[in-house]
């Protein structure tokens, strides 16, 4: 691979699809209504566990426009939203009327709904480990012992999961809301029996995925089944309730720490147990352990377990395992610092393993106003202000991408890559990398993505879209440019190596051609191809730190986040606006996770009581603080690195530390709702500290 990996630009152009999106002209999967389309949905079990005992299938079939009804009375449902049947109909109205006409009756088993009831506690370590730990705790100047919990968060993508599939005997076309258009095509080809060449998936516009939209999923399977059965296009689009119940969630956690430190700030190590609150069967959880690399953590004995509840199994969710981990270990860090009487920032400076973050702490501290931070709980009055800090890092996992760049005789440049823009601004990156490489205005370049017929691009996961597509795009642009140079050289009857190119102008001796003139030499178009396969595109991890300033109303327990400073290394930003957008989005999701979002189950039936956007609270505009994104770009930074995930990792930990600083006592559970803050304040009255 000979591509220079230095993405040099940092343009500030708005996304190319901004008009389509804000005007509503952009067609998402759910906006697609092919002629003759039918509708399908799953019949869902509403409670935690049990069976359908009665259903009026005949009445449902009798509803005008209903095509298909089946209910599976044999199945033992294991979570609210579990699929116990299928309906297909001519219209959404008929579909919903048929669902109501089923008049389902149920037999309920006792569901598992309360994590603490089923948490088995911290297992005894092995004898030799226990001995070492005892010795370590005996030697320590300070030991803290705490249990943190985090809630289950649903993905809550604004665009629901869904698709439209038009299956025909000689091929299939799908419009899908997905963060992996190539994988969707593979799935559709495999399930339909058609070769991939006869299958096309369109995901031009996607309204969020966050890790929950890989593959065809249950929605794709149902749409394909019904499209095949009725030889008509079929739509399956979830409603908001189904989104909460069966379209992805971040597992909760119960995290135990007993940690020891010396007075000088040295962390000796200790004991950590991480229990994941998962779905109806074990797996899908996991609390990240990266903090061991962030901080010199000493000898830590770690164990993990799962607590199963009657709920849908978790899916990958933006930095899986990380935000929940950060909330706990950053709290633990502050508790240790407080116990030895050291400023938490100084404690991190002493123990952080990254020089990059050590620099970032200084930038962030300045911008948040760390010097105004008072001792824990020292503020006067009802409203108390606090400051907190937390950190993270992200790695660069391997990825692959191919891309096409066509130069048309009109001078227009057309880029095609089978990656998708799930709301992150990838369509801007696709155009901008090529425009930058060719030294042309963005207006000359049309970037196209989201179609599975394009050269294969990466799925939107692992924060690797920009860092794998950018080099492939540059490679393809260079390949096309080389071909155009060749045509220019032939026109001038000079050697190719004598043709110089700079920002749209070709030169050789006295000869000169501007871009459009040169392109007139092309017969139709020139096709450039590019590819990239590697682990890294740019050196180093994406280190970051975030600082929070909060106000806590000690009379009502309300927490208001006033300001977040987010300092992120991410190589070179390709498009500064979209990069900053990622920071804003990650921080907002982190604020929402810290203060509001919580899946609530009825303790007796296991039904989710807040499966909407009223009871399931998400930060709104009025709850969002001033956010200062700092893209930490150093001279030696090359390439584009990870950004999409680390931006949401430290937020809740920084906020929790700020809350503890404000009120002088720690809130150990997410979300930090008024009841929990008031309970913490009551503990403080009995002598508890931050």
């Amino acid at each position: 691979m000979s591509v220079n990996n230095n993405v040099a630009m940092e343009n500030e152009l708005p996304r190319p699809d901004v008009d389509e999106k804000v005007s509503g002209r952009a067609k998402f999967a759910a906006d697609t209504f092919p002629q003759n389309v039918i509708y399908a949905k799953y019949v869902r079990f509403p409670y935690g566990a049990g069976k359908v005992t009665r259903s009026d299938v005949e009445a449902a079939k009798a509803v005008k426009g209903v095509l298909h009804v089946e209910v599976n009375a044999e199945k033992t449902a294991q979570y609210p939203g579990d699929q116990v049947g299928k309906i297909a109909a001519e219209s959404l109205q008929a579909l919903k009327d048929a669902e109501a006409a089923l008049k389902l009756r149920f037999e309920q088993d006792k569901p598992r709904t309360e994590p603490m009831k089923f948490y088995e506690g911290v297992p005894e370590p092995k004898a030799e480990e226990k001995e070492a730990l005892d010795k370590l705790f005996a030697e320590a100047d300070a030991v803290i012992e705490s249990t943190y919990t985090t809630q289950v968060q649903t993905h809550s993508c604004l665009e629901p999961h869904g698709c439209v599939i038009d299956y025909k005997s000689d091929g299939a076309k799908a419009w899908a809301s997905t963060q992996g258009v190539m994988g969707w095509e593979d799935g559709l080809a495999g399930s339909s029996g058609h070769p991939a060449s006869k299958v096309t998936v369109d995901a031009t516009y996607v309204g969020g995925g966050f890790g929950s939209k890989f593959g065809m999923g249950a929605e794709g399977n149902l749409a394909l089944e019904m499209s095949k059965k009725f030889s008509r296009p079929c739509r399956v689009v979830l409603d908001r309730r189904e989104e909460h119940l069966d379209a992805g969630n971040r597992p909760g956690s119960i995290q135990y720490f007993k940690m020891a430190a010396k007075k000088d700030g040295t962390i000796l190590g200790g004991r950590q147990h991480m229990a994941s609150i998962v779905g109806f069967r074990p797996g899908g959880g996991g609390v990240a352990e990266n903090w061991l690399q962030y901080y010199k953590s000493g000898k830590v004995v770690r164990t993990a377990s799962d607590v199963t509840l009657n709920f849908a199994i978790p899916r990958a969710f933006r930095a899986p395992g990380h935000p929940q981990a950060a909330f706990a270990f950053e709290g633990m860090m502050d508790e240790l610092a407080a116990k030895i009487g050291m400023d938490p920032l100084e404690f991190r400076q002493k123990n952080d393993t990254s020089d990059r973050r050590k620099k970032q702490y200084k930038i962030g501290a300045e911008l948040i106003g760390w010097k105004d931070r008072k001792a824990d709980g020292a503020g006067k009055g009802i409203i108390k202000t606090g400051y907190g800090v937390a950190s993270a890092s992200w790695f660069n996992s391997p990825g692959k991408c191919d891309a096409d760049v066509d130069i048309h005789s009109s001078g227009e440049v057309e880029v095609r890559v089978g990656v998708q823009d799930i709301g992150t601004g990838t369509s801007a990156v696709v155009a901008d990398v090529v425009a930058d490489h060719l030294g042309l205005e963005r207006a000359t370049v049309t970037g196209k993505c989201g179609i599975s017929d394009y050269p294969p691009g990466p799925a939107s996961g692992g924060s690797f879209v920009t860092r794998t597509t950018a080099p492939a795009l540059k490679d393809a642009a260079q390949n096309a440019l080389d071909k155009l140079k060749k045509a220019v050289a032939a026109e001038w009857a000079v050697a190719e190596s004598d043709v110089e190119y700079d920002k749209g102008t070709f030169r050789a001796g006295n000869e000169k051609l501007e871009w459009k003139e040169a392109c007139q030499l092309i017969n139709g178009k020139i096709a450039g191809k590019g590819s990239y396969t590697d682990k890294f595109f740019g050196e180093g991890n994406s280190d970051c730190v975030q600082f929070a300033k909060v106000e806590v109303d000690t009379e009502t327990g309300n927490v208001r986040v006033k300001k977040i400073v987010a300092v992120h290394a991410m190589g070179k930003p390709v498009n500064r606006l979209t990069a900053e957008n990622q920071v804003y989005g990650g921080v907002i999701q982190g604020v929402s996770y810290a203060l509001f979002e919580d899946r609530l189950l009825d303790p007796h039936t296991g039904g989710m009581v807040n499966a909407d956007f009223i009871g399931y609270k998400i930060a709104g505009a009025a709850d969002i603080p001033e956010i200062i994104p700092v893209l930490d770009v150093e001279e030696n930074d090359t390439g584009a690195r990870s950004l999409g995930e680390p931006v949401t990792v430290p937020t809740s930990g920084a906020i929790a530390n700020a809350v503890a600083n404000a009120i002088g006592v720690r809130v150990y559970d997410l979300p930090m709702t008024p009841d929990r803050v008031l309970a913490a304040l009551a503990r403080k009255d009995k002598g508890a500290t931050a």
């Binding site: 009327d97 009802i382 409203i383 208001r560 203060l595 009581v609 499966a611 009025a622």
Partner: protein, 321 residues
């Protein structure tokens, strides 16, 4: 949503005729459409009344304020007269919902809003209020349920306007299809579930609200809502305080099945015009003295208390911090 017949009334007579034929009135449509979509409201007939012209407007005359029921929350909230003469009412409108909803939601609709209890709003819970056999909140997830009242249903009244309506000693005028008019005082308008399980007020199905009025404007008033989210969220406790005719009215919202008049606090404030922090604190304590929280909502007693203290101080022109 079930398919439904949709009629548009152009005047009061048309609206009343439709109500007589068991049509459900739709003003802003915010709550009714939700209820229809959720299949909690089972009616198949809806009459739109938003075009009825003489049901919209704000007027002040001889120290009395009249608000016609189709006036939107935005119109009331931004009205100079209401802002100046009845701050609790304008604030309670501006605290409600979102800018988009305030633009279409009506004052009448807000007062008549059905409860947001998640058991009531979910089809799979056949709760008492829907004719079922139990209140699921009793030993269920009741963090947002009532901390006052003895059931058997434990909703909180959802209206943002209702506390100010009661504290301002308001009254409504209603007319039925037979042309019979009646005036109902705010204190008599809302009812507890032990008296009326299936409705939160005494308005009959064939009655139409024609006016919301305040015969005597308060000398002082304030509304304080304590919310988890600062944007679109129902309060978790609120209080409207209004000094009317020399007497303080202290009404808690979102903590009981109806706007909850804190009689003990009002007694404590007898004869006082301007409340200081010490008195406000005592009044707040008195207001929640008889609270009977459920298994998961005891924390909201402190919030109710805070809302009373703050509302009294705000109404008295003092900082609550």
């Amino acid at each position: 949503m079930k398919a439904f017949d949709y009629a548009i009334a152009e005047n009061r007579a048309g609206a009343l005729a439709a109500l007589k034929r068991e049509y459900k009135p739709k003003a802003g449509g915010i709550d009714l459409l939700d209820m229809l979509k959720e299949r909690i409201e089972k009616s198949e007939k809806v009459v739109a009344i938003h075009q009825v012209k003489d049901l919209k407007g704000i007027s002040e005359e001889n120290g009395a304020l009249m608000i016609l029921p189709l006036t939107t929350l935005r119109e009331i909230g931004e009205s100079d007269v209401v802002k100046k003469k009845f701050a609790a009412l304008s604030d309670s409108c501006l605290e409600a919902a979102s800018p988009q909803i305030r633009e279409v939601a009506s004052a009448g609709g807000n007062l008549l809003q059905r409860p947001r209890c998640w058991y009531f709003r979910s089809q799979e819970f056949n709760c008492l209020k829907k004719g079922g056999g139990q209140c699921f909140a009793v030993d269920g997830e009741n963090r947002y349920h009532a901390i006052f009242g003895e059931g058997p249903c434990h909703i909180v009244h959802p209206s943002n306007l209702a506390p100010a309506f009661v504290a301002g000693r308001g009254e409504v005028k209603a007319v039925n299809a037979a042309g019979e008019e009646r005036v109902i005082k705010a204190d008599d308008f809302f009812v507890m579930p032990d008296r009326s399980l299936y409705a939160e007020n005494v308005l009959e199905d064939d009655e139409l609200l024609t006016a919301i009025s305040f015969p005597k404007l308060p000398e002082r008033s304030a509304f304080v809502a304590i919310k988890e989210k600062q944007g679109f969220d129902w309060p978790i406790a609120s209080c409207a305080a209004a000094l009317v005719d020399g007497k303080w009215n202290v009404v808690l919202g979102h903590v009981a099945p109806k706007p909850w008049r804190a009689a003990a606090a009002e007694e404590l404030l007898a004869g006082v015009k301007e409340v200081d922090n010490e008195l406000a604190t005592r009044a707040a304590e008195a207001a929640v003295k008889d609270a009977e929280p459920m298994s998961r909502n005891e924390w909201r007693v402190a919030l109710a208390k805070a809302s009373v203290r703050r509302a009294l101080l705000k109404a008295s022109g003092k900082e609550w911090i």
